[in-house]
Symmetry: D2
Subunit: 328 residues, 4 copies
């Protein structure tokens, strides 16, 4: 088993993955997708940037769309528990020889910027600005009625190393994982969390680093179905890439969409708690088709192969050879 | 058993109950209720009248609200199968000594107006104007997303006689009925249909004739729940009179609302087909609490006692004594 | 427009399609599928035959599975309004030169057997035996909780002729249809009903006659999703052929399954009423992908090409050339 | 504002409320309720005790029912993060002058027993035995399909003191609270959590300490509705005390039941995350009816007044006078 013990005393305390920043070409098109069809709330907009949040969010943004570099993921954002954790994070990264810069972006408190050891641009901060919660503004619910950001999923070229850094150093815990049937087995994909459900950050072996998708939490299956109907009625049926269906891994009811710039978004509901110490990581065999889909539907080739490159880092071929995907 | 055989060769062929006309005091308030919270479509509006339809309707109106006489039901409308059925209906009513007038109201074809033998103002017509169906305009769905009008429920003072007229002459068939435990039993309430589901027209013993409620069809339970949330978020929680719950009779999942003029509206889903000749009317004992509610919730006193009088007819005390209702 | 006027005075009055009989190889496997995963009720079983009904049915059977000829459709059953309609039907078929036999099968009243002009084995009867309705036996609901049979869909080799017989003679009405973009256009598929919703019987151009699928009515989308989960948990994920999804035609939320003998079954919910005279048949262009699926998912090749032959009739190549289907 | 700062460095680290033990009179009746209607899994049973868990649980029990003392709550159980936290907890309680005993109950690791300063019997432990997760055993789902225990709600006679102990010492954080409109306001009810959603433990002013209810997590509204139907079909409609409805506080969709011994159980879904540092406790005015119910339904008197006493402690009159409840 290629798993390591998570660090129970990490150098700083990450609460959860808390936002993503994506390159976009046309903010009006993005708004039609994220606000009108997915039901997210526009917190702010200027000529270059659109800040969006979920209906239950009291914080300023969960997705930030910036004009320029369309199709590129600009940044993954993480909240840390206290301001002191920010200092400890800076200390840790500098000690690892990684360059750290600091600023205070719109809607966010003091923020550290760093590339992780694999080149992914990360932001760490303790707070965002507080905004009005729209959870009970039911008259304004639209489409998927996205409640909040849940997780991020990325291709990793050096999956075992990336995982070991996140778990062994930063204290991410594993909920589920896929390994090859080699002897010894090798880790193919891993679901990692800090917040006590299935994941904050999942990694899959592949040309990477690249963003695979942003997972947005919806209240239930009916919101996903309504989102499909609304997308179809809005001329956006082509944005539906896969699903709805049920993952074996995570038990999630899912729908995968491609936003107007090709970024993949998952509508996601139905996972479970992983808080208890009894919870042991669930192992899946790479050849078990149930991990991808409990119901047996093949995913399209694009789902296995396409992703958003991260700004400023060239994706690398993965250490483990990627299996050929049969066309749908 | 106080039931009679339905007339299988009625003098004219009623397809279904197809619209109601209600007196209203403030059409903007009505629109906020029926369009914004219930999700009905506004077909037309002028200074005096508001015409509304359901999302699946291709016909001009299912509910007509007219300024003046707020709280009064102005008319129940029925579609007949052919234009020739209109002539046969006129012939039948005149033969019964009932006065018949004819006009062509906005959005409707040639229409007969008559008071039934108990004083209720009825309209019969073959066609309405054809309008655009919004069934697949999912981006415009709001609140309860009402699909269509399903039925009307009324208090009858002379319940047995009213029932015998509808079934024995006009060919309405019984789906379910409640009778007293006297010897012989007496009919307390009856669900009558022409269209092959549970009801077009239900009658309950009480101060009558009065309209008890208009039943509007919704797609499922989640639309009812969303309607409650939207009503609450819109400051209209006080319009919720009873439910959501499950009727024993009809198996319907229900929510009873009071519109801004006090007219009672039911959001309704989950009944069944009654087309087959094997289907036998289902008998309920008046003392069986499951007929009103499978889940055991008491209905409020208002639900038993209040209704909309019909224009031009004074409600009469019922032939059967009404039971005292215990306050909730 | 290749449509004809439906006969408003048909020689006999068909109420609805009311059962199908299917050849099966292993009745225990059939029971695991129809009862345990689909939630149908077993009315009776002997060594050779299994009689199944829906939860709301008070009649003896909606699906009859008979050992032998697995994968063959043995018969489509239709209810007529009165016993006299049976006599009229016999007279009509004999007058058309078609051979009529009569029997009284288990659970059914007097029954006429005839092959329609295209070779399909049909049964007509007025009544089935009355059995207990399980609609409110909620503790026994399983899987999809199928409520009733809704419709049958078949490939027709002589589609225009088959349609004209059903509409022009037997009085079936069209709800929706697909035609080619030729001049003049030709009918590719047609949805026909007697009971006032979207269909009792749909026809598609293809190698025929063959049964495409049996449509079973479920209460809503959540029952379809639960059925997928139950099938997956029961090792029957491979029976899921297509969906869940939304048809443009009929607006139905659908799931297509293959039973243990390969017969195709649709779980179906969400269509609409077609009772009103205003309702005009909805036209779809054969090249409009939205007719098949509002959400844009391609159907698998098998869905377009495979079907159950009817007992005793060799399927014929269709009059209109079938288009090549792109593999999924 | 009567709130205090939560202790960010508590003497030991409570993960969540993790089980309750309830006195029962008839374990078969309990099983019919919790297993057949609520869908919980029986982990073990002997002549005196029944251990139940949720479908997603991998740990031995969430509810323990013990014969004897029916209607009494025997114990609230909490998980702590590490074994070392158990030692720290023992040290803390002894330092507070509270008597601590230790054992190893069936299905649980090393366990500390203590009465809190208000007399409530508590158990603290790090682990339970690991059992099979039934999350994806969809074929065995029944009734409400309870996934896990979410929270416990109790009456407190000394509400401000109890709250200050839990927050100021043990580090529970407030999600929402109700206060009187006095000057200064006084705390009437408070929702406290450790795990990052709305609550682990809620307190309401009243004759206490007494258990108000155990909150069980279900997947969505449809599971609650199905539970009502199943309870009704099982002759258990009388167990439905309140709901379904939507709380203003917590935004939960709720149903309150009384188990065969009168213990109150809430089926609960639809709350939100409280992990982020931006999240500020939400204040409700005691006179705002929306806190209890967004939809405006009055709760029955029993819901305000009845609760399960804790074993070995006489409930006390509350410090704040309880308001008279209007009968439903």
């Amino acid at each position: 088993m290629p798993l390591v013990e998570p660090n129970t005393s990490p150098p700083f305390d990450v609460l959860r993955v808390s936002h993503v920043e994506l390159g976009a070409s046309d903010l009006e098109a993005s708004k039609a997708f994220y606000r009108d069809a997915l039901g997210m709330v526009v917190t702010a907009q200027d000529g270059e940037t659109l800040w969006l949040r979920g209906l239950e969010d009291t914080s300023h943004h969960a997705i930030v769309l910036r004009r320029g570099a369309p199709g590129t993921c600009l940044r993954l954002g993480f909240r840390v528990r206290t301001e002191a954790d920010l200092d400890r994070a800076a200390h840790y990264f500098v000690g690892r020889g990684l360059e750290v810069t600091e600023d205070r972006p719109r809607g966010q408190g003091r923020t550290l910027h760093v590339r992780d050891p694999f080149g992914v641009p990360l932001a760490f901060y303790h707070r965002q600005d507080i905004v009005e919660r729209r959870l009970q503004s039911y008259g304004a619910y639209r489409g998927a009625a996205v409640q909040r950001l849940d997780h991020v999923n990325a291709f990793a070229a050096e999956l075992q190393d990336t995982y070991e850094w996140l778990a062994g150093e930063l204290g991410f815990r594993v909920s589920e994982y896929t390994e090859t049937d080699e002897t010894p087995p090798r880790l193919w994909a891993v679901w990692l969390h800090r917040k006590g459900n299935v994941h904050d950050l999942a990694l899959t072996n592949g040309l990477g680093p690249r963003l695979h998708h942003v997972g947005l939490w919806v209240r239930g299956e009916m919101d996903v179905i309504h989102a499909c109907d609304v997308l179809a009625a809005s001329g956006l049926a082509a944005s539906i890439e896969r699903g709805p269906g049920r993952h074996g891994i995570s038990n999630a009811f899912f729908l995968y969409l491609r936003d107007p710039d090709g970024h993949r978004v998952e509508l996601f509901t139905g996972d479970y708690r992983t808080l208890d110490p009894e919870f042991a990581p669930i192992r899946w065999d790479l050849d078990d088709p149930r991990r991808q889909t409990l119901w047996g539907h093949a995913a399209p080739k694009s789902w296995f192969e396409e992703g958003s490159p991260f700004e400023g880092v060239e994706p690398r071929q993965p250490v483990l050879p990627v299996r050929p995907v049969v066309a749908r």
